[in-house]
Symmetry: C2
Subunit: 536 residues, 2 copies
């Protein structure tokens, strides 16, 4: 970030057009995290003028978008997905330069198809009306479904997924648009050129869709004070946020005051419990799995395994030795930014000062740019239990803390003091010999996590109707919603609308007697794709 | 309320037993609202000691209750419902004395059976597992359902429904218990003896159910400071609240800070739009309907029609004249309390000072006790639009404001400035001749209300799966949830739980392959009551 640059500044996407930022408060450029050098064009730090223009334009088209035919919404989402796939080469060049994430193995082969696929799943949820969950009580004359909020949704994207969670292309975006709400995207300032390219594709697809052009807007950056003011504006219908705990909670306090629901994904250490028989069965393989999951994407995942419970004794020792060897043999990993590097070093220092011992890594290492050594720490259970909050400090990087436990009851004690996480994993023996321990730990861990995983590291997050990428506070701000998986993720950006005694001709299509599209509806307590005959 | 009384003080229901309040901060008695005199026994104002004991006991049994067989939960709800029905005579004597609500027509014939019926609907949702909404993705190995929070739920009951919304017997209570969460009920201090009797019935039913006795606890009263401290305690899983806007928002701020979801039903003026042809068709009948709805229960309903848009011209004049005659012919109505009376008088004063004219009533009237005259006010649309917030001041009593409108576009303008309400009603002609106006108003009103009603006053709230007793802020604190109607009301007190790769034998019953109970589950995108064969 810098003061206002003299050169040309890229335009923002406001009110249906690319236009100059009004009175920008400053400007910034992306950085190559591997070298710590500025790259790419200059982007504006928006002032209150841009924000007000975006809010007003979003609010002005909300009613029109609410009333848009679902087919237009679905066509837009599909066209945008196709455009992303067609533009993959250019998008990968931009995102790999801005994030240092692996171009082929991560960006092109995994994250980009995930992103277009997610948009298509949202389109499918729109076409099938599945997200609207129509409920009909023929006796009472009441019909209810999920409907748009009638207000714009503000989306804050994180630093770690330049496509799949980008405010202009990720799950929050797809979900909010699927529910026919205008989106004001706040791109992450660490990948502005990637976000710009995505926004151009979205804007082009939108113009051909027949939807209002101001339905999709994007700003690159604004300061914290303006962010808080925006989050607390009652013209917003909801906020989607993925990012840091401190930033998210500050925004949520502002949103709460205005009565704006905010769905924030904040922080998560994703505890992993290794049961004795599983370790005996395949301890070395588990050490490799663990190392791969912890260091993938330089560990910059919200589902990174940050805390691993390992039994004392020979098999546990063997696991730790194997894991330590893997970490020690690794080269320093590149983080997204200097502040990311500083935060990880600060977290490692906090863990150390709470009693954790460094088994491997622990410093920035060689290599310039924003590197960090893959870092493994360890502590024993009594010390962990003596200071459990400090020892759950999230390090957003290739860092994990091993807790050595004497027995299963100590694992249960640890589960009981855990903060809310997105995931919790238990590794068990294939022959069921660990399952008494599983049940004891799961009975406690279940209420601390959104997704309970068996025998798999937590970093894979399938885009599925049965996914829960959510969890108890503080991993998210509401335990009942998922940020990933259609149609459930769409529910976050919907309102419940009931019709009482309203005649057939004045009902929305989902709630009419006829059901030519074969929607699934809950009619008098039974899910059915049938039409009603003359019940109204 | 008084300082600590010298006489015996009733016990509180804490940790599975009726026991003396610990170090109560004071005591209070109920009042006969018709005469303003103290009645009944003396109840404690709890100190932090009672609150801490209830929280600790609720948290201690949460895991056991989470793991309880659903049949035990359903049996308890059914047994409690039966006990309420069997005890109707005594419950009606207590509630009519404490609230002055009509013993037969309101309490015995309507509210009491509604309450036991609601408990039975919750039991039915438990037996059918319908509230758990199982979702299975056979390809991804992911299975998800709604599950208990694993923490106690705090429920604040309102003054206006001594049974159906009572913290110990109402919809929030039934919903939280159905989801297998312990309940800490904060009874309303205006009907303590009614709440005590209900709690005795609940406690007896619970002891026979095999569920942990501390699953249901009740305190009568505590001061605001302790309430805020309790609402902000992270040991709570959620809060249900029905009551005043100021009190609810203060509690919500405390809960928000601790990450505790709070479902609050706050205030609602429930706008009613009378379209010209409907008025021409049946204006006098509508005036009677309106008067009956506005004065029923002394107007102390969250769905009271507090704002009525009436066209200028002869048919509108006739409606107003007929309504005015009804209000003028009415005797003063009894409110629940002196503070309720003061609040209504303050709201009338606020409406008057914002320009509303009193057509009838406006003062406390004769009769002693906490009476209020049924009050009709009027204003023209331009004046309403000049100060719309002040003119939406809620008067929690038999009070309504008529807004005279020149044309439909003025009705649309009014709809656009309305705050969120639980309901919005439009009266239309049976022959469809108002329907262009309906569509113009509904397009705006739809996003301001939870339930859109045709040709019916809003005061009836059916307990139905298709009900939405909810709405946009500030009528409630989240537009996606309903406080009434099973199974949807239960969702508020549930967490989303996903299982990833977990083998059949370690899954909860809803998510196993076999489906002997014929649950409805969303399997690979289709709702089905079939079993799965060998997919895991």
């Amino acid at each position: 970030m810098s003061m206002l640059a003299p050169g040309p500044i890229e335009p923002v996407l406001v009110d249906g057009q690319w236009r100059a930022s009004q009175s920008p408060l400053g400007s910034f450029r992306a950085e190559d995290p591997a070298r710590g050098e500025k790259i790419g064009p200059t982007f504006p730090i928006s002032s209150a003028a841009d924000i007000e223009a975006a809010l007003a334009a979003g609010a002005a088209v909300a009613a029109e978008l609410s009333a848009a035919p679902p087919a237009h919404i679905a066509d837009f989402l599909d066209a945008y997905a196709d455009a992303i796939d067609a533009d993959a080469a250019a998008l990968v060049v931009l995102a790999s330069a801005e994030t240092a994430l692996a171009a082929e193995t991560r960006l092109r082969k995994v994250e980009l198809p995930r992103t277009s696929g997610q948009l298509r799943q949202a389109a499918q949820a729109v076409r099938s009306y599945s997200w609207t969950q129509p409920v009909i009580d023929t006796g009472a004359g009441l019909r209810t479904h999920r409907a748009p909020l009638g207000k714009p949704v503000l989306v804050f994207g994180p630093n770690n997924f330049p496509y799949a969670f980008n405010a202009i292309s990720g799950s929050d975006f797809a979900s909010a648009i699927a529910a026919r709400n205008p989106v004001i995207a706040k791109a992450h300032p660490l990948h502005p050129a990637t976000s710009q390219r995505l926004a151009q594709l979205a804007h082009d697809a939108l113009r051909r869709s027949g939807l209002p052009a101001a339905a999709v807007q994007m700003l690159y950056h604004f300061d914290n004070a303006l962010g808080l003011q925006l989050a607390g504006d009652a013209r917003l219908g909801a906020i989607g946020f993925t990012g840091s705990r401190a930033g998210g909670l500050a925004l949520k306090a502002a949103a709460d005051k205005a009565g704006v629901p905010m769905y924030a994904e904040l922080s998560s250490i994703n505890p992993v419990f290794l049961l004795p028989r599983a370790l005996a069965e395949r301890g070395t393989a588990l050490a490799q799995e663990f190392f791969a999951s912890c260091t993938m994407g330089s560990g910059q995942f919200c589902t990174n395994p940050g805390l691993v419970m390992v039994p004392e004794g020979a098999t546990g020792d063997a696991f730790v030795t194997a894991a330590q060897a893997q970490f020690a043999g690794d080269s320093p990993r590149i983080l997204f930014s200097r502040s990311g590097q500083e935060n990880v070093l600060r977290a490692i220092a906090a863990l150390k000062s709470a009693g954790a011992q460094v088994l491997s890594g622990g410093s920035a290492g060689e290599g310039g740019g924003y590197h960090i050594e893959s870092t493994l720490l360890a502590i024993d259970a009594p010390r962990f239990l003596a200071d459990p909050l400090a020892l759950q400090t999230e390090a957003f990087g290739p860092v994990s803390l091993i807790v050595r436990t004497r027995d299963v009851s100590e694992m249960v004690e640890i589960a009981a003091v855990l903060e809310g996480s997105l995931t919790g994993t238990i590794y068990r023996a294939a022959d069921g010999s660990d399952d008494t321990a599983w049940s004891a730990i799961a009975a406690v861990l279940r209420y601390k996590v959104g997704r309970l995983i068996a025998n798999k590291m937590p970093t894979g997050v399938a885009v599925s109707a049965a996914m829960n990428h959510g969890g108890p506070f503080p991993s998210t701000t509401h335990p009942g919603f998922t940020a990933v998986g259609m149609p459930a993720a769409i529910h976050r950006f919907s309102a419940l609308h009931s019709y009482d005694g309203v005649p057939e001709g004045l009902l929305p299509v989902e709630l009419r007697d006829g059901n030519p599209e074969g929607m699934q509806r809950l009619i008098d307590g039974r899910w059915s794709d049938a039409a009603l005959t003359g019940s109204a």
